[in-house]
């Protein structure tokens, strides 16, 4: 026992002497006299990535099928079955990774970082849903996205959310998208993946906090339809904008002409109001007449006011974003480490963290770390003001948007918010006429 203690003391002394040269073998590897064969370190090969290519093909097929089911077949049941398939395949079978929402981070990083080349499959995952949305509306959200599917699955008691609250909460998604871009570009961190609430369910294991977050989303999702999709999803923000100008889109009435041309001027809606409360996502807009004459002057003034206000919003947002740079940059690992090391150096805190220990072990100059951190913080200034300006722009445009009187001749889904789930179809009496005609045509042909 004593001898062992001496060994430790001896070795510690030895270590102190040669702490600078850390990577030298302290004990020379032995020359064996017996016929001992030294084994090699095993290196099991990574799993074949063939599945990724199958994933891309399945994604394409699922998107095509979803678009067909939403726009042509108009069957909620078929959409639901496809949704369950996507939940099982992309979610539970492929463990929800890689998904188009998280792929945003890879795309941004590959744009900003010259050394990072993005795998082709991830580009396909990012772009395919965008292209499909540009043609057919948000059919990706309807039945392909596993994140959306798991929330749609638990939606049992839909409660309507007032418009002002919906728009206000949605602002978070824009901020989240901005932050995700900021951190992928500057910090090389994918915060969308890091805070993905449902991937732990798909893997049936994961970080406890994220698991709790996911459970909260699912519990809220029983009453408020798809809370992640509507108020958080950063990819949904991009899909919203593309869906506004999509070539074809969901219509409540089954009139092919309106579906094709996708404009409000002709609609065969009979305004029976049956579909009014059918949308759990609050995406159905009521028909409106011309601008009421007593409202006209007031509305015009309000619109002018908000248009003047728009640059003010953008600039104050930018200023706020710039002034928050110190706080936001603290989320970056290097900046946090530099601050910690500074506090330790000046003796303001006692003890060390794992990160500061690891930094000391590298033997790098403290000054180099400080320089690197201040470089990064300097980058957060303009980036933060861009983000703030973007959020200001979103608020300003939303205010202008609500001040414009839109004329609608019938009930129609909101172009941006409609998730193409197909719940409203069966409420439309015109749809029942279409189905009856289709049945009769079927029986005649037989």
């Amino acid at each position: 026992m004593m001898r062992f203690g001496y060994i430790i003391i001896g070795i510690s002394f030895f270590l102190c002497l040669c702490s600078v040269v850390s990577a030298v073998e302290r004990f020379p590897p032995p020359q064996f006299e017996s016929d001992y064969q030294q084994p090699l370190t095993t290196t099991p090969a990574p799993c074949q990535s063939i599945y990724e290519y199958i994933d891309a093909v399945v994604l394409l097929a699922a998107l095509s099928l979803s678009s067909y089911l939403v726009l042509k077949k108009r069957s909620r049941r078929a959409i639901f079955i496809l949704m369950v398939f996507s939940l099982l395949y992309f979610g539970f079978w492929r463990k929800g990774c890689v998904c188009p929402i998280g792929a945003t981070g890879n795309i941004i990083l590959s744009i900003f970082d010259r050394d990072y080349a993005v795998p082709a499959v991830i580009v396909v995952f990012f772009l395919l849903p965008l292209v499909f949305t540009l043609f057919f509306g948000r059919t990706f959200c309807a039945a392909v996205c596993p994140q959306g599917a798991i929330q749609d699955f638990v939606l049992l008691q839909p409660v309507s959310v007032p418009d002002w609250l919906e728009s206000g909460l949605r602002l978070f998604a824009y901020v989240y998208l901005g932050l995700a871009i900021l951190f992928a570009a500057i910090g090389k961190a994918f915060i969308i993946c890091r805070y993905d609430p449902f991937v732990s369910f798909f893997r049936l294991s994961g970080n406890f906090n994220i698991l709790v977050l996911g459970a909260c989303f699912l519990v809220v999702g029983v009453f408020i339809g798809r809370p992640y999709c509507r108020f958080v999803c950063p990819y949904g923000v991009i899909l919203r904008q593309l869906s506004r100008i999509s070539k074809w889109r969901v219509t409540i009435t089954p009139d092919p002409a309106t579906a094709r041309r996708a404009s409000a001027e002709t609609s065969d809606c009979v305004k029976c109001q049956l579909c009014e409360d059918s949308c759990p996502f609050g995406a159905i807009r009521e028909p409106t007449a011309n601008w009421p004459i007593y409202e006209y002057g007031k509305g015009k003034k309000r619109l002018a006011f908000f248009i003047i206000l728009l640059p003010i919003f953008v600039f104050s947002g930018g200023w706020l974003g710039f002034s928050l740079k110190t706080a936001v940059s603290r989320m970056h690992d290097t900046v946090r480490l530099a601050e910690r090391v500074y506090l330790e150096q000046t003796g303001q805190v006692k003890g060390t963290t794992d990160a500061s220990l690891a930094f000391r072990a590298t033997g790098k100059e403290v000054k180099a770390l400080y320089d690197e951190a201040s470089d990064i913080r300097a980058k957060f200034g303009p980036a933060g003001s861009l983000l703030g300006g973007f959020v200001g722009l979103v608020i300003g445009l939303k205010l202008i948007g609500v001040s414009i009187w839109r004329q609608r001749t019938g009930y129609e889904p909101d172009r941006a918010s409609c998730l193409a789930c197909g719940r409203c179809f069966q409420y439309c009496p015109r749809e029942h006429v279409r189905l009856k005609n289709a049945r009769e045509a079927m029986s005649k042909s037989q």
């Binding site: 090699l40 370190t41 099991p44 799993c47 998280g102 082709a120 794992d354």
Partner: protein
Amino acid sequence: MAENNKGIARRRFLKDSLWAACLAFLGGITGFLVGRFRKTDTVWQLDPYKCIACGNCATYCVLEKSAVTAVHAYAVCGYCRICFGFFGPEPFDINEGAENQLCPTGAIKRTFVEDPYYEYTIDESLCIGCGKCVKGCNTFGNGSLFLQVRHDRCVNCNECSIAAACPSGAYKRVPVEAPYILKKVDHA
């Protein structure tokens, strides 16, 4: 009426142009990225020379049993009789008794080779990647025990959870053809 139609036609034209612009933009992104496509994929791996064996690998992996385990570079090993990766700080005796071991799961096998050398082998089915043995071997020994992401278990997340929690920034993406960073005999 005619004027109204004109308005609608103009709006439609503007909308179609915007639509085409969006499509062109997506095409542009594709074009930009096509030039930078990587032929092969990458996997996550940790650099053992940066690792400080903090223990995060055992707890932050999304898998229930971490994909990271300790591995042994036999060529670096000193085959010590008293291995600081195997024995706890104050072992009761120098033998393989469980009470003497540092490893919480008993994943290291100690076998006699020839006097005074002993071989240490890691049973990866038991190893949880806590890095206790790595710390011991790095501090007092040759540093032949080190942590590696085992790719037969790793699910290759888009962003590795351990990488996000690693205090020394040891994790990086490596090409799939060279998925391991092994320790080598250092002749410095």
